[in-house]
């Protein structure tokens, strides 16, 4: 699976796509592979706010739970309903249809410490 060039990545295996003042957040293909078959996704309520690096939810496989950390600060505008009934989509299309949340970003957002697609792939040893 390719890692889209226009996404930014974290060392905790999340991605964010910034478009204006909206940030779409998900987990990477590497993450879903490590987790195995995903059985449940726990997402926050619309309106909740998170700091950069704060946990906003979790992803579960049969035998493990992983917290998801927000790559950027923001307010939750939408969560992906598809994952409520079809958590397996997160295994199938983690970079596309199985995004997790859409955040409204504050004006002065800091993306400088996020990784590019190339750097992320180097990080995971791809």
């Amino acid at each position: 699976m390719t890692y889209p060039e226009n996404y930014k990545y974290t060392k905790e295996h999340e991605w964010v796509l910034v478009e204006g003042d909206t940030g779409t957040v998900g987990i990477t293909d590497h993450a879903q592979e490590e987790l195995g078959d995903i059985v449940y996704v726990d997402l926050p309520k619309v309106g909740a706010t998170f700091d950069k690096g704060q946990s906003f939810g979790s992803v579960e496989s049969v035998k493990a739970v992983s917290d998801i950390y927000s790559p950027v600060a923001g307010e939750v505008m939408a969560t992906n309903d598809l994952l409520t009934h079809h958590p397996e989509k997160l295994n199938e299309d983690p970079h596309g249809a199985a995004w997790l949340v859409k955040l409204k970003l504050p004006a002065a957002g800091d993306l400088s410490d996020l990784l590019s697609a190339e750097d992320y792939q180097k990080y995971i040893g791809g």
Binding site: D37, V39, Y40, E60, V62, P87, E88
Partner: protein, 500 residues
């Protein structure tokens, strides 16, 4: 070659609701000797239910067949070695079952007059005393219903003592090798959990530990021997470190089967500990419970024990409720009395010498297995093994086979698997505890099986990866079970074809 099991015909069986049909009955009540009361008149029509929808209706024969057939689908200690690590699957003596059912004990109501309950109270007193002797501690409570419940009780007492001294403090230290109940319990008592790393001998790293011990720490929870079956050699130094800073040490007694008669936790500085009566003291696991989590304490914690406590008044026992510093009740009544009877019977059957003998036999069996398997599986730590040995699946992983797969193949050889993937500090752990009630014959069958599987991993890994092959149920789809949970039977739902 598989020696322990062979093919046989095993009965199929549906769910009880699928045998049900109106009018079938398995019971008969006596005739009423008082007038029948109109339920609607007595209770109000809105309070009377029409029926219990879809509750089963079957005959006694169908009931007995149903449960008997189902039972044949289970493995059990009565069928052979059950090598689960830290579960201590020893033989469950049948005399214990008999004595627990004696009418005067089984039908005792917890609120019946004390002078008509002296027999029960004597049992409780005798067991409290025996467990105090075994642990070297000063007092015992038998109220908690299980190990985790005992941990909860113990930590509540630690907190109570710290509060009594003026400062509850904030943290509990837990080794990274600990069982999941430890940190879960600490959270329930309002403490933050801080993990302490193990060293390369599989023990608590005392240098790193000393950095963690501040006066924010209320206590340390430690398992000894630990979850890799190794005695914490620095235990006196560890308990000393904690005591110096005014903290206490809780010992998870799950592995007590390695210590009875050989070491007493009070001697190495433990302040409070729980015992799993359903492990060390042979009470049956019953498919997942009941258990009993006796808690033993030093004098300093005695005032905080849950109440009521047994008190001797002239020539009889009484329950004393006057315990101003007690943490309160952790459950109703006095404890899992039926389990206490069985544990006491076990202790009586062994006596002091017998208990020590049992411990040494348990150590011998575990060391025997280690010696026989070390050439084929990677031992996790070189430290001396006590009652359980832990291997990692490193060698087999090179062929793409993991501990879970080996465990499934072991089923084909007629055994229950060992504990898979725990403790987490070992990569791909295989945790094996034979207990003392296994003969050399049974252990050799196990060794043969494990060696054979190691060879299969080399020659034919697919055979192991697709195991088990001989069970009436093959590997189950746990993913779908979690994604789309079906947690009860419903009449209108068509389940997948029942066993064919």
């Amino acid at each position: 070659m598989i020696k322990k099991v062979s093919r046989h015909i095993v009965q199929n069986e549906l769910l009880i609701f699928e045998h049900s049909s109106p009018g079938k009955r398995g019971y008969q009540l006596p005739e009423l000797d008082v007038p029948d009361v109109d339920a609607e008149a007595a209770l109000g029509a809105q309070n009377v239910r029409e029926e219990i929808e879809d509750f089963p209706e079957i005959s006694e024969v169908e009931a007995i067949r149903h449960f008997t057939r189902l039972s044949t689908w289970n493995y059990a200690i009565d069928l052979g070695l059950y090598p689960l690590g830290s579960c201590t699957m020893k033989y469950n003596p049948r005399v214990n079952e008999l004595v627990a059912r004696i009418d005067g004990l089984a039908w005792a109501h917890p609120y019946q007059p004390e002078h008509l309950s002296q027999g029960c109270m004597e049992v409780v007193a005798a067991l409290e005393n025996a467990l105090a002797v075994i642990t070297g501690m000063d007092a015992v409570t038998l109220q908690p219903a299980a190990g985790a419940h005992g941990e909860f009780t113990g930590l509540l007492m630690i907190r109570a003592l710290q509060e009594h001294r003026g400062n509850a403090r904030k943290k509990i230290l837990v080794p990274d090798s600990a069982h999941g109940t430890n940190p879960a319990t600490a959270s329930m008592v309002g403490y933050a959990v801080e993990n302490v790393e193990s060293n390369d001998r599989g023990m608590v790293d005392t240098d790193r530990l000393s950095k963690h011990v501040t006066d924010e720490v209320a206590g340390l929870m430690i398992t000894n021997p630990n979850t890799v079956g190794v005695f914490e050699q620095d235990i006196k130094r560890i308990t000393g470190l904690l005591h110096e800073k005014g903290a206490l040490v809780y010992m998870d007694g799950a592995n007590m089967n390695a210590l009875v008669g050989v070491a007493r936790p009070a001697d190495f500085g433990i302040d409070v500990m729980h015992l799993n009566l359903h492990k060390t003291f042979s009470t049956p696991h019953g498919g997942g419970g009941p258990g009993s989590g006796a808690v033993a304490v030093r004098d300093i914690l005695k005032p905080f024990l849950p109440g009521p406590r047994l008190k001797r008044e002239s020539d009889r026992w009484t329950w004393n409720y006057d315990l101003p510093q007690s943490i309160g009740r952790v459950r109703s009544f006095y404890g899992n009395f039926g389990v206490l009877v069985r544990a006491l019977a076990y202790i009586m059957a062994h006596g002091g010498d017998g208990l020590r003998r049992a411990t040494l036999d348990a150590l011998m069996n575990a060391n025997y297995l280690r010696k026989k398997l070390e050439a084929h599986y990677e031992i996790a730590y070189q430290s001396p093994t006590m009652h359980e040995c832990v291997f990692s699946d490193d060698r087999q992983a090179r062929k793409g086979v993991r501990t879970g797969d080996i465990a499934k193949r072991l089923i084909d050889y007629g055994f229950h698997p060992y504990t898979v993937s725990f403790p987490l500090i070992v990569r791909g752990a295989l945790m094996i505890e034979p207990t003392e009630t296994e003969s050399k014959q049974e252990l050799d069958l196990f060794v043969d099986a494990m060696i054979s599987i190691a060879q299969e991993v080399e020659d034919n890994p697919e055979l192991v990866l697709q195991a088990p092959h001989s069970t009436r149920t093959s590997r189950v789809d746990e993913v779908t079970a979690a994604r789309r949970p079906i947690l009860r039977w419903k009449p209108s739902v068509q389940s997948a074809q029942a066993a064919d």
